[in-house]
Symmetry: C2
Subunit: 471 residues, 2 copies
């Protein structure tokens, strides 16, 4: 609980009803999309505009009270869990699309807009915003910016950072900065825009974003290729790219994922396959048809057991929606679902999937793997039970080995979910101790009293590298 004087100051800024600290408000903001993490905030505040955010930050800064910016809390890294208490700043009231500029192909939005609502609005205007995290029906653009969200279209179109041209943000001090603009090119000083994207709420509170829009693809087509051997599926991925074809989507599901997705979405998928590739190409019709034709040939050359091409856009959409539901489907299996995003160069995905399976077996835990094969971004997902401490310990050991394997294969500990709380002990494995020191230095420049989302990204103690048992 905050001091009553401070609470009064905050209520004076946002109005009586927009600062809450009743048990319901505190409990519902004590956790996010990440399993097994909970910590109570002291209050929850809902600012209406940038000036309010600035005024709030001045109060919190003066009293050294932690503040955690939050959209819909769908992140999977514990990014919005208030581990040191403080105030959760929920951005949902700041949800306006301020402008769509048809001449410059940009949109300027507030951070609280729901991703899917934004995308639908843009599509109605005949434009396209590609980043499409699986959580997009509830996630916010502000949350996507904080985490640099990816999605199924990342291979061809890139991720959130490729679409953020400019930001307005409030520093810990309450000062308001503006970076970039409606500019494709801007090299005036260090790129603070790209530094803020993916900074997980540790450097500033984003209050406005100018996003790049692109012309929409005119046509798309979806196909499935099914494999009895996981290596054949992985080789197909590399071979498609090697053939200079960049599909819009190139997704992978292993056998356990196929089973649960099919049970959930009733697609009639063959349950005896080792792996399925879900492939979508978009663009002009003649090119899409030609690419899908060529991709089918490659799948056959690489011994796909069967190939099916969606005959209608609706059928294609159904397949994509089923893939997006993988997390939800897996979550029905057991009480706790831990979805990770170890990422490797795309040439290494077969090796990585086999490593994951070996590690899961070694620790006797259930791990399904699916993900964005085209960009090497895999989602090994453990289905477990948080109440079984001994099993959870084994799951954690397994994931530590999985991150280790990803690094060893030239990859990273997180491709699109962020570091947050859960990956913090592993960050040093990827960026080294000098990298950590540089990042901590940057944090200190933006937030000298460490009030912006403290306890995230940088762990008190880095986890020691595990010794991989290659036996």
């Amino acid at each position: 609980m905050l001091d009553s004087q401070i609470k009064k100051q905050l209520r004076d800024i946002v109005g009586e009803n927009h600062y809450k600290d009743d048990p319901e408000a505190l409990i519902t903001h004590s956790y996010d999309g990440t399993p097994m993490l909970q910590s109570m905030p002291d209050g929850v505040i809902y600012p209406e505009n940038t000036n309010q955010v600035s005024a709030i930050m001045k109060v919190l800064s003066q009293h050294r009270i932690p503040v955690i910016g939050r959209g819909s809390g769908t992140n999977l890294c514990g990014g919005t869990v208030p581990v040191q208490g403080g105030v959760i700043m929920v951005m949902h009231r700041m949800n306006a699309i301020l402008e769509v500029d048809m001449l410059n192909l940009t949109a300027t939005v507030q951070p609280g807009i729901i991703t899917k609502q934004f995308i639908e609005h843009i599509e109605q205007l005949g434009l396209f915003y590609p980043p499409d995290p699986s959580s997009m029906s509830i996630s916010t653009i502000g949350g996507n910016i904080a985490e640099c969200s990816g999605g199924l279209r990342g291979l061809k179109y890139g991720t959130t950072k490729d679409y953020v041209l400019g930001l307005e943000a409030v520093l810990a001090s309450g000062e308001i900065i503006r970076t970039g603009g409606k500019l494709v090119k801007d090299v005036a000083g260090y790129d603070l825009t790209k530094l803020l994207v993916g900074s997980e709420g540790t450097l500033a509170i984003v209050t406005e974003a100018t996003l790049k829009l692109v012309p929409p693809p005119k046509y798309k087509k979806t196909m499935l290729a099914m494999y009895k051997d996981i290596y054949d599926a992985a080789r197909t991925v590399s071979k498609i790219i090697e053939n200079r074809i960049i599909p819009a989507t190139l997704e992978f599901m292993d056998n356990p994922t196929i089973r649960v997705v099919d049970d959930f979405a009733k697609l009639g998928l063959p349950l005896d396959m080792a792996a399925i590739l879900l492939i979508e190409q978009d663009g002009d019709q003649e090119l899409v048809e030609r690419d899908i034709q060529r991709i089918s040939e490659i799948c056959r050359e690489e011994k796909a057991d069967s190939i099916s091409i969606a005959s209608t856009p609706e059928e294609g959409m159904k397949l994509m929606t089923a893939r997006r539901s993988a997390f939800t489907a897996l979550a029905r299996l057991r009480p706790t679902t831990i979805l990770e995003d170890a990422t490797v160069p795309r040439s290494k995905i077969a090796e990585m999937v086999l490593e994951i399976n070996r590690i899961a077996e070694k620790h006797q835990v259930n791990i399904c793997t699916f993900g964005h094969a085209g960009d090497g971004n895999l989602h090994p997902t453990a289905t477990t039970d948080a109440r079984d401490h001994e099993e959870i310990h084994r799951v954690e050991e397994a994931f530590a080995e999985i991150f280790e394997a990803a690094i060893r294969l030239g990859g990273t500990i997180t491709g699109e979910h962020g570091v947050g709380l859960v990956k913090a002990p592993f960050l040093e494995w990827k960026v080294g101790s000098v990298g950590i020191e540089l990042m901590k230095g940057i944090k200190q420049v933006f937030d000298p009293h460490n009030i912006l989302n403290p306890g995230k990204m940088f762990a008190k103690e880095s986890r020691r590298r595990v010794v991989i048992d290659r036996g």
Copy 2:
């Protein structure tokens, strides 16, 4: 001159012949592509590998000696002029293409490789590296990374930062860091890769870069549209984009530029036109033909006086080469050529060109304007004479007003040339005093003793905003 003990230490690292401080070496490294700037270094060093760079940095750091990384010195912002003396570190010996990874579509290179040589090598392998600064026949990839170089293909393909996936770099302390990797997605901590790109040698010396490659376009076509009214040309630019067509290249030349380019390249351009657009589309043949057809219609609708479509790739190449020669052609007019890169949202280019002309007339100076209209990146270029101090003063006043106008129209002081020495007094206009403080803080984290390219990006005194005379 450095102390003889320090010189010995440096020669012990690189070998006797690779540290120079004879007058020829010092004078040839006292200036770069920027006119009217010269400052003598104390020495010039040519490292052979990353370990030598690290060892050199340790020596220079210990003695607080400035170090300026340099490729071919083609930059236009005074970025490599050693304003505080010190050692120029020339990267030409580190010019290897270390790997082209055909499965992951990446190339790993040393910084000293010449951009055009790299591009040609990649194209021979059937791949494509889009960033194409006009200086590419002599510039290096390391220089392009330091300045975040753009080029003629930036509209469709982006600039250097969109193609740098990972870096190896040496800090001021001599410590070696590695960022990113062969990974399309990596959100492990702050994005140090994008922070280093465009940091103008002020944060670290880049010693290795992993670059993203893409499938090459199969076909391209070039066309010219000529206008009697500059506004019609500008409206055409916006209307092409509004029609959801993103050309590979969309270049603008005003009348004075047309005249000198034609005189230089003997193209037979009509010399009475107010503006010419040079447009290139690439991709699959049927789409290119369709886009060029539609673009021609738009040009006609917007009252182009005449339109000519290159009938052969050679003719197209000739037009593009002529455009690339604009700087060289203008440089023949008078002893001193000052090429700037004020950038505005693309919807504002007509307004910006008229502002430039108004400002040039007000100050009675010669300014030609050409540039990358599609991304609002204009190159107002003054032809003048450095020996005429009074005229140079008027040119400087004119450029200050041009930057002011760019900012007022939602633009920036530099789209692709960097801040360096020449834009440093204006940086605050774009990023604000808080932005400057953040950037200085970041600089301090990477380079606490300010030995990496000191005196750049941050001016001792910011220039006061000029009062625009709207009369």
